[in-house]
């Protein structure tokens, strides 16, 4: 057993010498791997102290406290003092669709037009983005790559973060269509400054959402008929919405916007997820009654209004949890995703248990993205998407990811940042 562990340490230090371009995607899992003596955070709320977990051919085969002895040809990892987590999932991100935000040539997340459901983010996902590896080393193993811009910017797909190309990366294709709802925030005023308001906000809202409404109505009607003289790609693109194989993520934050979103679900008989949800705490019960899930964007935000509780964004997750709403946590942007575990940490500081907070970035996310049958928790039969940290993954004070597996493949945790770190430690002769 000691020998095997040593192998691992060697392997890790080797990777440090690689350049970014030679951080290879890992080959398929070979031998069965046995994790033992670990604190296993299952992701569903359960914690197994001194737990064990076995995975083989990329799937978790057993989890528990008293597992049968490892087979002789397996790899045993003694994880005493370590924590084992399901891979963290980033539910909304432009990862792989942009490399340098300010450089237009690197931006591939916004297309021209208001209603573009036939756009697929997956085909632009760049597996060689330098950002991806900086996420993996913080425990983020899956991401829903999401387009932005216009009202319906397109369809998102879930990718796993260790791939040669987007086809390899695809974890769930085209699982969601996105609708960025216009805002109902009353036109602003700053004391002493005047703003010119051209249109009544409510009118504008009705007009804009009306466009999406009529698009969906016409699409629904179109899809009733099989033969068409002219194929409408946009209508075709939303077919799975009406069969509920796809979800409509409605991006909105304010109460009335969210109520409209709830109504969309009823009107069109589709699965709706609210993305954003800054004010979801106000109508948590309504969301629960209507079985609307929420992707809560960025607990690390300022309160919506100057009078709101100063810690409101930190505790919104707790209020949704208490109301029984299915929710997960997200973070804005792409490189920022590496801080997603800490968004969960904050949610825990302000009310969630640590395990609930973990669920909010793993199993709940998987449920909302429709991938919970294969990932999101460390349960038998699911993909071995596993993160191992020497300390609490949700606290920057102790988070240190030492191993990670995607579908059983141990991935390389090196990244550009570590390499530059090594380069300049070398320059200054630092150990």
């Amino acid at each position: 057993m000691k020998r095997i562990i040593l192998t691992y340490i060697t392997a890790l230090s080797c990777t440090a010498a690689f350049a970014q371009e030679t951080i290879y995607p890992a080959p398929p899992q070979g031998k069965t791997i046995y994790l033992i003596n670990a604190t296993i955070h299952v992701g569903n709320g359960q914690v197994l102290e001194n737990g064990a977990l076995t995975f083989s051919n990329g799937k978790i085969t057993a989890v528990g406290n008293n597992l049968p002895a490892p087979a002789a040809d397996g790899i045993i990892m003694d994880l005493k003092g370590n924590h084992v987590y399901p891979g963290v999932i980033s539910p909304l991100t432009t990862l792989g669709l942009t490399e340098v935000e300010a450089v237009r040539a690197t931006n591939d997340f916004t297309e021209v037009g208001e209603i573009n459901p036939s756009i697929h983010s997956l085909v632009a996902y760049n597996t060689d983005s330098k950002v991806i590896n900086t996420l993996r080393s913080n425990g983020i193993l899956l991401a829903q790559v999401t387009p932005e811009g216009g009202m319906i910017p397109g369809t998102s797909s879930v990718v796993q973060l260790d791939a040669w190309n987007w086809e390899d990366a695809a974890y769930k294709k085209d699982g969601a269509i996105h609708f960025y709802m216009p805002s109902l925030l009353p036109p602003p005023s700053i004391p002493g400054r005047s703003f010119t308001v051209t249109k009544d906000r409510a009118e504008e809202f009705a007009e804009e959402t009306g466009k999406v409404r009529s698009f969906l109505s016409e699409a629904k009607a179109y899809l009733q008929e099989e033969k068409h003289t002219a194929v409408n790609l946009k209508f075709e693109a939303v077919r799975k919405l009406f069969t509920k194989e796809q979800k409509l993520f409605i991006h909105c934050n304010l109460v009335k916007e969210m109520l409209v979103a709830v109504d969309f679900a009823k009107e069109f008989g589709i699965d709706v997820v609210i993305a954003g949800g800054a004010d979801s705490w106000i109508i948590a019960d309504v969301l629960k009654q209507n079985n609307i899930a929420v992707v809560l964007t960025q607990p690390h935000s300022l309160p919506v209004t100057p009078d709101d509780d100063v810690d409101q964004p930190y505790k919104t997750a707790t209020q949704l949890q208490q109301a029984g709403v299915l929710f997960c946590l997200s973070n804005e942007g792409f490189w920022q995703q590496r801080n997603l575990p800490f968004e969960a940490g904050t949610a825990s500081t302000y009310g969630l248990t640590k395990e609930q907070a973990l669920t909010a970035v793993t199993l709940n996310t998987a449920r909302i993205l429709g991938i919970d049958k294969s990932t999101g928790s460390l349960e038998t039969g699911k993909d071995a998407n596993i993160v191992i940290s020497t300390g609490d993954l949700l606290d920057m004070r102790s988070s240190a990811v030492v191993h990670a597996f995607i579908q059983g493949r141990e991935i390389n945790l090196d990244n550009k940042h570590k390499q530059l770190y090594e380069r300049y430690k070398y320059k200054y002769g630092l150990k």
């Binding site: 005023s189 690390h300 209004t305 009078d307 800490f342 770190y421 200054y428």
Partner: protein, 1005 residues
């Protein structure tokens, strides 16, 4: 002395005037304008008799006579009526001086507003043609008298509101030139204009200027200060400057009353500070929320022109919209009408202006509201009449009724502030303007009506108001009829029984009786006459007004503000884990005694004495967090990036103590913030270190005695890389050019320093000279190694040190050079990939620099992240294995060192300021919350008190919402619920700050 002198002067002028009047000098009657037709000279002599004459507020003559001639008052009192006077019986009527408004644009051309900020066309110099100054917003050469022309429609509206005289100026620009005093008489401009240059006007608003500079409030302030200096220098007529008509006019205008228009209470202090610097006492045209800071207003010693445009109640019927209206806005609605009363109570001189009123007809209603909210009637009248006249030293002409003054007066049916009083006439320069004729003669009373043939008698009662009397027939059942009086013509109609046909009469209301013809109920013609028999006695139905119930003022004026400012008290924090940041390291179970705002003692089992004990068991005590790079609490622009060098602008001028982010950051353990200019240009503005003394005003927020700093910037922002294709004109557009901007600026500064005493003082170069002399220190926004290296080279060449590189995401590449140069670093924990120059940013940056020996701080540049700086510091444990104690120093002691205040703050050591945070957990853990945050020993944030404040906010909001709903129900016009925006900035924000959360989530720096 001056008082004596001026009154004597006034007296002598008065004598002259009277002399002229009595002599009826022919020369006085002459004029240059030819007459088309037969000359029609009239002296316009009138005597208003039996009137109640209010000469000025508090001076009332009963049954008195007012005599006017040639547009001026001749006498007031009981003297004889001149034979040639037209006598007007004013029995029962009141005569008041007409109102005076000091803040008007009457008769001046309309001003077109222009933006002229960043993303507009590039315009470095003024577009005004002529021998004027360099900045288009300095318009001292504009004289309102030169552009003034009477405007019948506006004049009528103003007269109808009660005004007789206005001080008018073109409300355009930062220096607006002179104001002209004019009457509202409808006559030739020559006659209406009574003082050609009566005032000089200023503001912070660049108005129609299309020039880019200034784009920020601090830029406006700097421009004003520099212009004062330039004008002083121009007095020596420097040859190189040539003729500068703007500066010439600026100097000429200095002798006039100086009126400064501001937007709010903090602007008042900003303007007053400029005045103090240059020996000017401004008269302040206020914004309307000055009542929130009365002690500060008193201290300015200014006279004020108060607006009456109180906010309308907000339509809060939709709770989801009302949610976005801040409590401060609701409270302001309730408290705005208390402004004048607060000024009266504080004995601050003030007058009223109608400026800003949506409907000028609401003027008296607004004044009545002020009275309802505590203003005395006498003061209210004074504020409309004599006070404004005095403020601009025109009280020899207008403002009260005195012989020799202009015959500008109002004739009313009763006391001026009574709701039922009718304003009949407004006489301006001796000319009558009828405001309302109806009711001039009060015909109300009992009449005996005789109808012939038949000699049928009826008793009629005319009641209602004098202006619109109502008729009823008095018999067994009183029957309502109708009466219309139009001048002399009168119509009557009434039924003889309920629901019956009407008797219809019309005729003339004569001097002694009313007579006429009509048709009776059967259709036959009749003749009628009516004789007055008894006056109408009105029952006083007005309910005594009860003083309105109003909420308290908060300091600052924000939901989380104090009702009274907190006081220092001695504290003993017991049994905490104390992170000293000193050699002692982390001390378990330790007490810290705070006395007089300082850390007095650190030890175990310290006696409490009189100190309040705070239990720290299980908690951690650290020094307060210091954010080395912050943009909170800044008003109206964080960048004055319209030029590449703007070292003359100062954040100190625009600190905004009301920003709720001060409170939010206290809740995250921040006790001091270094407020920086943005990064839009190479040499930005001067920064300001503040302590988060929530509730204090801008001056009190400042960290006293701290070394002054200035913001520099390098790289993509200053070369406008990400500003779009239109912004390609400003030098520099490359890192090569940035080096030249710096070298050029410091070369000019060095030459300037050597120049003689007669040099033009240049605020921009003054700041750079301070840098050269190590009296001001640089915080430089920077990213890539080449530019970091470059700035250190420039600094070496000019023999100064770069104090701090901020952002500095490639600092790890040149940490050795930085150490050698003596530069420190303030950086982000883990930001990258948002722009090209952060491609090599790594989260190990802080650790590497720290290990090489650079003083490293982690800072926020972001109002949200600043609340979690302890967590950002903790990332250095994750990235690079920094020890916990060293990591904590990244946000406490190290920024204190970078800011040269480590002898006062940054660690827990006896004698240092008690800027402390009591954490619920290890301060580097994400699970830690700040339970209490102290500045100078005052607990400014307390998690338990915070819960009470939340309840107070909720209760107060609810109270005000109900009150506003009540107003709406009563039919009071309302304003739409508008989102109260918070001003929030990052480095790169060019114009307005914005609410981050719901509009734009990206932090691009």
């Amino acid at each position: 002395m001056s008082k004596f002198f001026s009154s004597r002067k006034r007296l002598s002028r008065l004598c002259l005037l009277l002399g002229g009047l009595l002599a009826g000098s022919y020369a006085q009657a002459q004029e240059t304008f030819p007459v088309n037709g037969v000359a029609d000279n009239r002296e316009g002599c009138y005597a208003f008799v039996k009137a109640t004459i209010v000469k000025s507020a508090g001076t009332v003559l009963n049954n008195a006579t007012l005599v006017i001639r040639n547009g001026r008052i001749v006498s007031i009192g009981n003297g004889p009526v001149p034979k040639d006077a037209v006598v007007i019986d004013c029995e029962g009527k009141y005569i008041y001086p007409s109102f005076v408004d000091l803040y008007s644009d009457y008769g001046t051309p309309a001003v077109k507003k222009a933006a002229g900020g960043y993303r507009s066309e590039v315009q470095f110099l003024s577009a005004t043609k002529g021998a004027y100054g360099w900045n288009q917003a300095i318009r001292s050469e504009v004289n309102a008298s030169a552009v003034f022309t009477t405007d019948g429609t506006s004049a009528e509206a103003l007269r109808n509101a009660g005004f007789g005289t206005v001080l008018s100026h073109q409300q355009d620009g930062i220096a607006r030139g002179t104001g002209v005093l004019v009457t509202l008489a409808d006559q030739r401009d020559n006659k209406a204009l009574i003082k050609e240059k009566a005032s000089a006007h200023y503001s912070f608003d660049k108005g129609s200027s299309t020039q880019n500079y200034p784009s920020s409030l601090m830029g406006s302030i700097a421009l004003l200060r520099q212009t004062y200096l330039d004008a002083q220098w121009y007095q020596s007529h420097p040859a190189k400057e040539g003729t500068n008509l703007t500066l010439q006019a600026w100097n000429d205008n200095r002798a006039l009353p100086q009126i400064f228009e501001v937007q709010d209470k903090w602007d008042v202090l900003r303007a007053d500070k400029i005045g103090d610097e240059f020996g000017v006492q401004y008269i302040i045209k206020a914004g309307g929320n000055e009542y929130q800071r009365i002690p500060e207003m008193i201290a300015t010693k200014a006279s004020f022109i108060l607006p009456l445009n109180f906010p309308q109640p907000i339509d809060v019927e939709d709770p989801n919209d009302a949610r976005f209206v801040a409590l401060s806005e609701m409270k302001h609605w309730e408290l705005a009408p208390t402004e004048a009363a607060a000024f009266e109570k504080a004995n601050i001189p003030f007058c009223f202006t109608a400026s800003g009123l949506k409907d000028i007809k609401q003027l008296l209603a607004a004044v009545r509201k002020s009275i309802e909210y505590g203003l005395s009637e006498q003061k209210a009248l004074d504020a409309l009449t004599l006070s404004p006249a005095r403020i601009i030293k025109a009280d020899d002409q207008v403002g009260s009724l005195e012989p020799g003054k202009l015959a500008n007066f109002l004739v009313t049916s009763g006391t001026i502030f009574n709701e039922n009083t009718v304003l009949f006439q407004n006489w301006v320069q001796g000319k009558k303007y009828v405001v309302k004729d109806e009711g001039w003669k009060d015909v109300r009373g009992t009449y005996t009506l005789t109808v012939n043939p038949g000699n049928t008698k009826y008793t009629l009662l005319l009641k209602g108001t004098a202006a619109t009397p109502a008729l009823s027939l008095l018999q067994q059942d009183t029957l309502a009829g109708a009466v219309t009086i139009n001048g002399q013509l009168v119509k009557l109609a009434f039924p003889l029984k309920k629901g019956g046909a009407q008797l219809r009469l019309s005729g003339v209301a004569g001097t002694t009786e009313w007579t006429g013809t009509g048709v009776d109920t059967s259709g036959k013609w009749v003749k009628w006459s009516a004789v007055f028999s008894a006056a109408y006695t009105q029952k006083d139905t007005a309910k005594p007004k009860t003083a309105p119930q109003i909420g308290n003022i908060y300091f600052p004026f924000n939901g989380y503000g104090w009702e009274s400012l907190p006081k220092q008290q001695d504290l003993l924090i017991k049994n905490a884990t104390v992170w000293t940041n000193e050699q002692e390291g982390k001390l378990e179970n330790t007490d810290v005694l705070v006395r007089n705002g300082k850390i007095a003692q650190i030890g175990k089992n310290l006696p409490a004495g009189n100190a309040r004990v705070i239990d720290g068991t299980g908690k951690h005590l650290t020094a307060g967090i210091i954010d080395e790079h912050s943009h909170i609490a800044i008003s109206r622009g964080v960048n004055e990036g319209t030029q590449s060098v703007t070292s003359e602008v100062r954040i100190a001028d625009v600190v905004n103590p009301d920003d709720v982010n001060i409170y939010r950051q206290l809740s995250g353990g921040v006790t001091a913030s270094h407020l920086l200019h943005g990064s839009a240009n190479t040499i930005g503005g001067q920064s300001q270190l503040i302590k988060l003394r929530w509730g204090a005003d801008a001056e009190e927020l400042k960290f006293a005695g701290a070394d002054p700093f200035i913001k520099f910037a390098l790289g993509e922002n200053v070369k406008q890389s990400n500003w779009g294709d239109r912004q390609r004109e400003r030098f520099p557009q490359t890192r090569m050019g940035v080096e030249q901007v710096l070298t050029d600026a410091f070369t000019r500064a060095r030459d300037y320093e050597k120049a003689g005493a007669d040099k033009r003082r240049d605020l921009e170069l003054d700041a750079l000279v301070e840098i050269l002399n190590s009296k001001r220190f640089i915080t430089c926004h920077s990213y890539v190694q080449s530019e970091i290296n470059m700035l250190m080279h420039v600094a070496d060449t000019f023999h100064f040190h770069v104090n701090t590189f901020t952002h500095i995401l490639e600092g790890y590449k040149v940490a050795d050079k930085m150490k050698q140069h003596g530069a420190g670093a303030g950086t982000f924990a883990d930001w990258w990939a948002y722009k090209m120059e952060v491609q090599d940013a790594i989260p190990y940056n802080a650790t590497i620099m720290q290990r090489v020996g650079v003083t490293v701080a982690i800072n926020s540049d972001d109002a949200e992240m600043a609340r979690r700086l302890n967590q950002e510091a903790a990332k250095s444990i994750k990235y690079g294995n920094m020890t916990e104690e060293e990591a904590l120093k990244l946000v406490t002691l190290n920024p204190a060192k970078l800011l040269h205040v480590d002898t006062h703050v940054g660690s827990i050591k006896a004698g240092k300021d008690a800027d402390l945070v009591l954490w619920s957990d290890n301060p580097l853990s994400i699970y830690a919350k700040a339970d209490k945050t102290l500045v100078d020993g005052i607990v400014y944030f307390d998690r338990e008190k915070d819960l009470e404040l939340r309840q107070r906010i909720s209760a107060e909001r609810n109270r005000l919402v109900l009150k506003m709903l009540g107003e709406k129900k009563k039919g009071t016009p309302t304003q739409k619920a508008a989102t109260t925006l918070e001003e929030m900035y990052h480095c790169e924000d060019l114009q307005g700050g914005h609410q981050q959360r719901l509009t734009d989530g990206n932090n691009e720096l």
